[in-house]
Amino acid sequence: MMTWTDLLTILPTVCLIVWAMLMLLAGLWMPKRAEVIHPFAAILGLAGTGAALSLLAGKGLQGFGGMVRLDSYAVFLDALFLVSGVLAVVLSPAYLKRVGIDQYEYYPLILLSLSGMLLMASASDLIMVFLSLELLSLPLYVLAGIARPKLESEEASLKYFLLGTLASGFVLFGISFVFAATATTGFAAAAAAVQAGTAHMALLLAGAALLIIGLGFKIAVVPFHFWAPDVYQGAPSTVTAFMAVGAKAAGFAALLRLVLMVFAGEAGVIVPVFAVLAALTMFGGNLMVLVQNNLKRLLAYMGIASAGYMLMAFVPFANPAVQADSLASALFYLLSFALASFGAWAVLVSLEQADGSGMEMVNLSGLGRRAPLLAAALTVFMLSFTGIPLTLGFWGKFYLFRTAIAGGYTWLAVLGLLTSVLAAFAAFRVIQQMYFKPGEPNVHPSYWTTVVAVFCALCVLVLSFLPGELFTLAVKALIGA
């Protein structure tokens, strides 16, 4: 029987789903003129969910026999998801109107995908992981193709769907192996089986490998990253902004919890794998950023490289002295990444033309003069991605590298730091294009996209002066607390 506590643990997810359903139904009956109401309704739903979440925060609820845990880790990530949901919704109306996307399903789909992300953050059972993975991905596949009949958008949708299902397949296959090894799908029960020595180690490792690959697709680490630039490029910019942060963070949410709770005993095998993946991703991601002339692809690779840095700090997770920092530094960086990423996409949203063009590096020429606020904001985001001080990204990297060095992986940290030079080259190329190259960019800054860009830029700058509070927040976001 479902208890009251069970319901409470999934209340945020339920809120979003119910609200999305209501919006879908209402959308059917709503006259065309009233469509301005959709974004407001979506914000209202997100605010309501946020309120529900704030009431449940700090209680450490567990539901469905431990399958769902609304611990402080989940709450931190849920808050991040909700904020990115709000930012995505705020970015959308002007953009959708300009590029002629006229589907009222857009906002409910965002809410549905968010509900999956929220569930993912609390999922403590493999079945739950799979369910939430599908719940967050399916609406994203549709959203990627929502600019139909634009071919690029449809292609992106199909590509995302095919590779997404492949990833899901890996995850599902991995789940079956873990189940075969431990006779359970629950994280805690599986860990207990490993502790007790009743688990079949070879099967468990095979399951771990498959799960890491499956989730590796979702967080786009090299070599499972190649779909990301194509999908990011083809999908409507606001959708990309949303999934670049949301889907990546959700993938990390599941991966970190899974590894820490279930596979901590297999660190001997998993750590070298993570070290190699992190090194490949930091190096490969940043190397490929260098040669991008399309801004959407550029941001895609910057996102890939960022995943590499987060993975790097997670490499020494098995060392009890740094485990808390591993988790906290990843969460902290996720936050700084989310702000910079959303802000940067907001600038790109203002640059995209109705036919999808305007996304090349040359289209930035003269932006410093034409749209000083947007250009300054994009400069801040680029510096934050690079990790230049007085941006939140600097403290993010500072903490990540500190964790890696504290865990004894100085070589990995030095590699990561040196790849930051490549990132800097790419970032300064963008800045140079905006300020030093003359041109008349075709930019459509709507009020709200500018607000998002400036808001994110101010957060990135101002929060860099008070990182202490955020560090504390991230450190407190522990699994199971």
């Binding site: 903490y399 964790t403 100085t410 509070e469």
Partner: protein, 498 residues
């Protein structure tokens, strides 16, 4: 204390006040913007003199200490810790002294985007002061990296023809070094459990191997900034392409950040590694001295010539530092100031000529003495000061450095002395090409001599050039106790090694 405020905090943050005023002013009010920036930098200079007044030159330790806790990260506290001692006070004064001069030099040369220029310039001043005053490694790093951004824009927006290339090269070179330093900072902070420099110096538990690694991590960052041969290749481009005021600050102050880094981090924190590597650093310094001088002689562009002369001069500074004795180190500190004054003045002279003729080719000039006697006279004094003529500032510094270097290693010092002769060769070549001989080009016949504003720019430099040359004692007095303290650390490390 004004209103109980720490003088260092006031000096460091005062330029930001000017930035705020500039942000309020309209971009078209060019003169108002210029005067605001100049007034801000002059007031900052005044405040730094007030700081000097409060400074006790008999004390070799950190003074006017300001330690504001900032936040904790994994049990380690990071604090906004500022302090000044005899090693940094001269560089602080150099910064606040050169900034108004550089700003005043832009009256005619910067006509576009004046507001942005002045904002970046004042931001840069705060960044540089922060570097010299920070005593927490994280805060030091923040200021260190922060100086990159304004300088990048100063070169990229107001620079010469190849400014894009020069700006990016400047950033990437410096950043590569800085990131290695960040790895070193993080490692050291974790190892010692503190980011505080005073605590690190007081309680040093590093083994020789650890010191050598850290020396490398920090040393590469600083060596790029100095720049030491063979990491110097960003410098000629950045200096040549930067606007005159930018070159003055680049050569005058930014390069000193590298030498200061060696002084503040490598020597006191990794003393055993410093002793082990002193000979090698000395050899690199001498290569830099000779290489810089030889390449400078072959330049056709006056600004590039001055840029390469910096490589040579900074070689002397590094030679002095790694002599690891009193004369060497105090000579090096003084020579940092001297180089800021003389090379700053040389860049200004080239800038005056460029504003008049829009070329920097040595061959485009000649015989200017007849047309511009005042500039000619000033240029002669500056050239001779850069060469190290007795009675002018360069001599005091170089002589002290060579004295120290002879004490450490006569062979290296002998080779370095050759650099003094080579300096005479390229600098006299520079002066002769510009000012002596007949006037070969007609355009040069009608050149106007220095205006009152231009004199106001360069005369203060000349005054200090003479002051240091004739009466250097106050400068040595300021730094002596701090140098002694540093040497005590080095001697203790040397004793521990045997």
């Amino acid at each position: 204390m004004i209103f109980g405020m720490n003088p260092l905090l006031v000096v460091t943050l005062f330029p930001l006040l000017g930035v705020l005023v500039l942000l309020v002013l309209r971009p078209q009010w060019k003169n108002a913007l210029r005067w605001t920036a100049l007034a801000t930098s002059l007031l900052t200079f005044g405040l730094s003199l007030w700081m000097l007044g409060l400074f006790n030159s008999a004390d070799g330790g950190i003074q006017m200490d300001l330690n504001l806790p900032w936040f904790y990260l994994g049990g380690t506290s990071i604090a906004f810790h500022l302090g000044v001692d005899g090693l940094s006070i001269l560089l602080v004064l150099l910064t606040t002294f050169l900034t108004p001069i550089a700003i005043l030099s832009t009256w005619k040369s910067v006509e576009e985007k004046v507001r942005g220029f002045m904002i970046f310039f004042l931001l840069l001043e705060t960044g540089m002061l922060g570097v010299f005053l920070a005593l927490d490694m994280a805060v030091f790093y923040i200021f260190w990296e922060f100086t990159l951004i304004p300088m990048y824009f100063l070169i990229g927006l107001w620079g010469g023809e190849r400014r894009l290339y020069a700006a990016v090269k400047f950033v990437l070179y410096t950043l590569t070094g800085s990131l290695l330093m960040l790895a070193g900072i993080l490692w050291l902070g974790l190892h010692a459990g503190t980011f505080d420099l005073t605590a690190l110096t007081a309680n040093n538990t590093l083994s020789l191997t650890q010191q050598l690694w850290l020396f490398g991590a920090f040393g590469i960052a600083f060596a790029i900034k100095v720049p030491m041969w063979p990491l110097h290749s960003w410098l000629p481009d950045a200096h040549t392409e930067a606007p005159t005021a930018g070159s003055v600050i680049l050569a005058g102050v930014l390069l000193k950040m590298g030498a200061y880094g060696f002084l503040r981090f490598n020597l006191p924190l990794f003393p055993q590694a410093s002793i082990k590597l002193a000979v090698w650093m000395g050899i690199l310094a001498v290569i830099g001295i000779l290489y810089g001088a030889l390449v400078a002689y072959r330049q056709k562009d006056a600004k590039r010539l001055v840029a390469y002369s910096s490589v040579s001069h900074l070689g002397f500074v590094m030679l002095g530092l790694f002599a690891l004795n009193t004369q060497g180190i105090s000579g090096a500190v003084l020579q940092m100031v001297n180089h800021g004054l003389s090379t700053g003045a040389l860049f200004l002279i080239v800038g005056f000529l460029y504003e008049r003729r829009h070329t920097r080719e040595l061959n485009a000039f000649g015989g200017l003495w007849k047309v511009m006697p005042v500039l000619g006279g000033i240029a002669l004094v500056v050239t001779l000061s850069s060469m190290g003529l007795p009675g002018l500032n360069g001599f005091v510094g170089e002589f002290s450095i060579l004295l120290g270097a002879f004490g450490a290693n006569p062979w290296i010092a002998g080779a370095a002395a050759l650099g003094v002769i080579l300096a005479a060769v390229y600098l006299l070549h520079f002066f002769q090409k510009l000012f002596l001989g007949p006037v070969t080009q007609e355009a040069n016949l009608t050149l106007k001599d220095l205006s009152a504003r231009e004199l106001a720019v360069i005369v203060p430099l000349l005054a200090v050039i003479f002051w240091i040359g004739l009466y250097p004692k106050p400068f040595f007095t300021l730094m002596a106790p701090a140098v002694d303290k540093l040497l005590a650390v080095l001697q203790a490390a040397s004793a521990a090694m045997h």
